[in-house]
């Protein structure tokens, strides 16, 4: 349940980046090695933004697959259903995690400013 803490950080980043403009969607990139439950994150976002200028904004979560790079044979391994820190090609343990630990506010979709729409 650290999703609440994460949402508080996401709120701080979003509120700075929006520079007073209304936000419709906050786009996140979340690596598979991060223990983030999307449903919990979305729920906590509602709790954290309630009664703030970001109330009603949505989180859009783009998952990033975990990927290892082998220092011995140079092969790349995408971790699918098993969390096994080993090269899929040579079985070596000297691997570097190159993807899967992302936890980033990627971008914001702003609401069209009211002044830009005339009836």
């Amino acid at each position: 349940m650290h999703e609440l803490s994460l949402c508080q950080s996401i709120y701080g980043i979003t509120d700075r980046a929006r520079e007073g403009r209304p936000v419709v969607t906050v786009r996140l990139r979340v690596g598979a090695l991060r223990q983030v439950v999307p449903e919990t994150l979305t729920y906590c976002w509602g709790v954290v933004t309630d009664t703030t200028p970001l109330a009603g904004s949505m989180l859009d979560i783009e998952p990033v697959a975990a990927e290892l790079s082998c220092r011995s044979c140079g092969a790349t391994t995408v971790l699918a259903d098993r969390f096994l820190i080993a090269c899929g090609t040579c079985d070596g343990a000297d691997v570097e995690v190159v993807h899967g630990e992302e936890l980033v506010v990627a971008s914001l979709d702003l609401a069209e400013p009211a002044s830009a729409v005339r009836s």
């Binding site: 950080s9 419709v24 969390f83 820190i85 000297d94 702003l110 609401a111 002044s115 729409v117």
Partner: protein
């Protein structure tokens, strides 16, 4: 309903649709405006963690973040460790994280030079981990210049504490043999995040069906490099190897 907008050349107009009859619209995307942010969500925590690390470095203090599930034996391991450090003439401080109560802090108070208690309940039902800003607050309760080592006893939890750098130099976890062989596979992020795993309560092995070799092989699949040390904090068995690892971590 017409669309009013401004072009890069400063001209403005209103029209129904973007059909390119009213000048060059290639630089103007319709629909909501997207702002690129690309900021890591842990930036704030990691900045605070770096500040904690600098504070430790300035005072010549080595900090260890000790994590485990509830009931794995963290406090018993720490009690023994504090006695060892005192015998070595090292001054130890403890940051004690718990959702509620000062029970663990009280247990360690007589053994540590200084103890700073962090109850995490004054949030949304109790935070399940310590983060770097919380530890920074706890450090106000310690005089680092009078210490050589700080042991952070994290909240008992195999999920959230793994995600938060608190500014420690080493991360250690206690895993008790009563938890079963499969814990490393179920909580790989925690097991992967640490520099040493203390496999605790080995005095109970004769009474359990647990295959301790399988447990260690499972730890290896998620963390090929961590030190694996079998101990019993209760009987003292194996603690010498832990103290040797600790002394190396403190002096290196």
């Amino acid at each position: 309903m017409g669309r009013f907008h401004r072009h890069v050349d400063g001209t403005t107009h209103t029209h129904e649709r973007h059909d390119h009859e009213l000048g060059d619209h290639t630089a103007y995307a319709t629909g909501p405006e997207r702002v690129t942010v690309l900021e890591r969500i842990f930036t704030e925590n990691d900045r605070a963690a770096d500040a904690n690390r600098s504070a430790f470095a300035d005072a010549g203090v080595v900090c260890l973040n000790v994590m485990s599930s509830p009931g794995a034996g963290k406090t018993t391991v720490l009690a023994a460790t504090l006695t060892h450090l005192r015998e070595r003439g090292l001054r130890a401080g403890v940051v004690e994280g718990d959702i509620e109560t000062s029970i663990d802090a009280d247990r360690l108070r007589g053994l540590a030079q200084q103890v700073s208690l962090l109850n995490t309940a004054n949030g949304f039902g109790g935070e399940c981990h310590l983060d770097a800003p919380m530890v920074a607050r706890a450090l106000h309760g310690l005089d680092l210049d009078e210490l050589d080592v700080v042991l952070v006893e994290n909240v008992g939890n195999l999920v959230c504490p793994a995600e938060f750098d608190v500014g420690a130099h080493q991360r250690v976890m206690v895993c008790s043999v009563t938890e079963g062989e499969d814990k490393p596979l179920k909580y790989p992020v925690m097991f992967r995040s640490v520099d040493a795993v203390l496999v605790n309560k080995t005095d109970l092995l004769p009474y359990l069906d647990l295959d301790v070799d399988l447990l260690e092989r499972n730890i290896r699949t998620v963390n090929p490099t961590a030190a694996l040390l079998r101990i019993s904090a209760r009987t003292g068995d194996g603690l010498d190897s832990w103290y040797a690892w600790l002394d190396e971590a403190i002096t290196s």
